[in-house]
């Protein structure tokens, strides 16, 4: 990395600084910096899915058709109660095995099953190898499912908080049921939902630190590896227990994300509150 700099800049940096720049830009550290993309990707995709699941869940919950309402209630009640770590471990594994089971019913023959050396999947052809990309997507879906259940409740509550008079007035002006729903209830719902959704979003961001549980070399795993004491010159720089330094960087990263999120939600809140006289102004 250092040799990319022009010579006069290299001379200007002291030996000490040059050493630290070299250390902090070695392949291991670069891999750590690059791993931030996994966390950011999981947060963004997970967040988007959570919003989608939340809207669908809230729609189901306020449905007039009992079975749909039951599905919505079941989803928000059960998934909110299960610890996110458990769901995180359970969902990708169950999904993988289901896919493998389905593929096995299609491609396995008695001969290939007999030739298989492992107890699962039934035959080698049915094995689905999950790499980082697959796990990342499954992790994002898990995050979306778990936090979508919270978003369901938030959005459902917000839809009921829209003043009834507004909807009645809209009907009185001759708007159809669909127009009343989209242009009045959903449009005004955001003002009540956003504070709750910002909570859900921050919880989801925190949960992205669990990615390493799914074999993803994420920021937490690299911080662990880089911070662990090293006594062997053959392995790299000899140093003591530096985990706290690396954890501190993660701490600052998450605080930064929180700060940015707050700004973002403030802007959204202002936008959602346009033309509304009540709570949004507060």
């Amino acid at each position: 990395m250092l040799d990319l700099l022009p010579e006069w800049m290299r001379d200007g940096i002291g030996d000490d600084a040059a050493f630290w720049i070299g250390y902090l830009t070695n392949g291991k550290h670069l891999a750590w910096y690059a791993s931030f993309q996994f966390t950011i990707f999981a947060a963004l995709l997970g967040g988007t899915l959570a919003l989608v699941f939340g809207l669908v869940g809230a729609g189901l919950k306020s449905s007039r058709f009992l079975p749909l309402r039951a599905i919505g209630d079941f989803y928000s009640a059960i998934v909110r109660g299960v610890p996110d770590v458990l769901f995180f471990l359970f969902f990708p594994l169950a999904f993988e095995q289901t896919v493998e089971w389905f593929v096995a019913t299609q491609v396995c023959t008695p001969e290939t099953i007999a030739a298989s050396t492992s107890p699962w999947p039934p035959c080698r052809e049915a094995n689905w190898f999950l790499g980082t990309t697959e796990y990342l997507i499954l992790a994002s879906v898990s995050l979306g499912l778990v936090y979508g259940a919270f978003a369901t409740n938030v959005i459902h509550g917000a839809m009921r908080a829209v003043p009834h008079g507004q909807l009645e007035a809209a009907r009185a002006y001759g708007f159809s049921d669909a127009q009343v729903f989209w242009r009045f209830q959903i449009r005004q719902m955001w003002v009540y939902a956003l504070p709750g959704l910002s909570n859900v979003w921050l919880l989801l961001v925190k949960a992205t630190s669990l990615l390493s549980l799914l074999q993803i070399a994420d920021i937490v795993l690299w911080a662990d590896r880089l911070g662990a004491p090293n006594f062997l010159p053959a392995v790299g720089l000899v140093h003591g227990d530096w985990r706290w330094r690396y954890y501190l960087v993660l701490l600052i990263f998450y605080i930064l994300v929180t700060w940015l999120s707050e700004r973002g939600f403030e802007a959204l809140m202002r936008r959602a509150g346009r033309g509304m006289l009540n709570e949004a102004r507060g």
Binding site: K28, S118, N230, F231, L232, P233, D241
Partner: protein, 250 residues
């Protein structure tokens, strides 16, 4: 049309393992220097990486090293995510119930205790001590069985984390492979020292291979025999373990 392409790609992805048989995937932990670790460039390196490359060259096969957590390294072998484990894994009766091993490429290595200087642990009747081990290792099993009743056994997911907690004063002692601890103690400038007596567990370190994958075990053993005879294995052991051995050649 687009849908057809997607379905085709998905089928190809599922069918891939069958055709990719020529490439043998070797799993290692990457956190157990000098056996296997990630070097400054972030790539796998160490004794077992060099040995794996030598074996694959000897056997004339293409190999790929993959990193997998220690905890799930056997389950993922059984699931077929890779074909061989070379991760400082000792051959034990317990593991032989689920997987097979090649011949050992590192002789039985006594496990040893380390502690901070002046720890004064009474190993004859150790009580109330916090003993660190790496989870799912032979040491973890031994410690649970022999010390578990009167002491707290703390299991870590990597050996590095156990060392970090010993350095931080959260543990009284660590039980681990002697060959792993030796360079650590040597390089620690007296911050960590050997204590107590050696404990003999396991039948040496070998490559873990799925039960019934007889052809692959055969390949591994043939290559290992040749590399032991010509001194390659001993050379690598001496190189990575500070002049230990020779164990396998005359």
């Amino acid at each position: 049309m687009k849908k057809l392409i997607i379905v085709g790609a998905a089928l190809a992805a599922f069918a891939a393992p069958a055709t990719a048989q020529e490439t043998v995937r070797i799993a290692t932990e990457g956190a157990y220097a000098p056996w296997n670790f990630l070097n400054d460039a972030g790539e796998p390196a160490g004794f077992e990486i060099d040995l794996a490359n030598a074996i694959c060259e000897e056997a004339g096969i293409t190999c790929e090293i993959v990193i997998n957590d220690w905890d799930s390294i056997i389950p993922n072998l059984l699931a077929g995510n890779y074909d061989v484990i070379m991760a400082g894994m000792s051959i034990t009766e317990e593991r032989l119930e689920t997987i097979d091993f090649s011949d050992n490429y590192f002789p039985p290595d006594p496990s040893r205790f380390v502690a901070a200087p002046g720890s004064n642990l009474d190993f004859a009747n150790l009580t109330g001590a916090r003993v660190g081990v790496q989870g799912a290792t032979i040491q973890a099993g031994w410690a649970e069985e022999n010390l578990g009743a009167n002491n707290t056994i703390v299991a870590f997911s990597t050996a590095d984390q156990a060392m970090a907690d010993l350095a931080a004063g959260n543990l009284d002692t660590i039980l681990a492979d002697g060959a792993y601890l030796q360079p650590v103690v040597d390089a620690s400038n007296g911050a960590i020292e050997f204590v107590g007596e050696e404990v003999l567990i396991g039948d040496g370190v070998g490559a873990g291979i799925r039960k019934g994958d007889a052809e692959l075990i055969e390949t591994w053993n043939t290559a290992l025999d040749a590399l032991k005879a010509d001194g390659t294995v001993d050379g690598l052991i001496a190189q990575w373990f500070d002049g230990m051995g020779p164990f396998f050649s005359e």
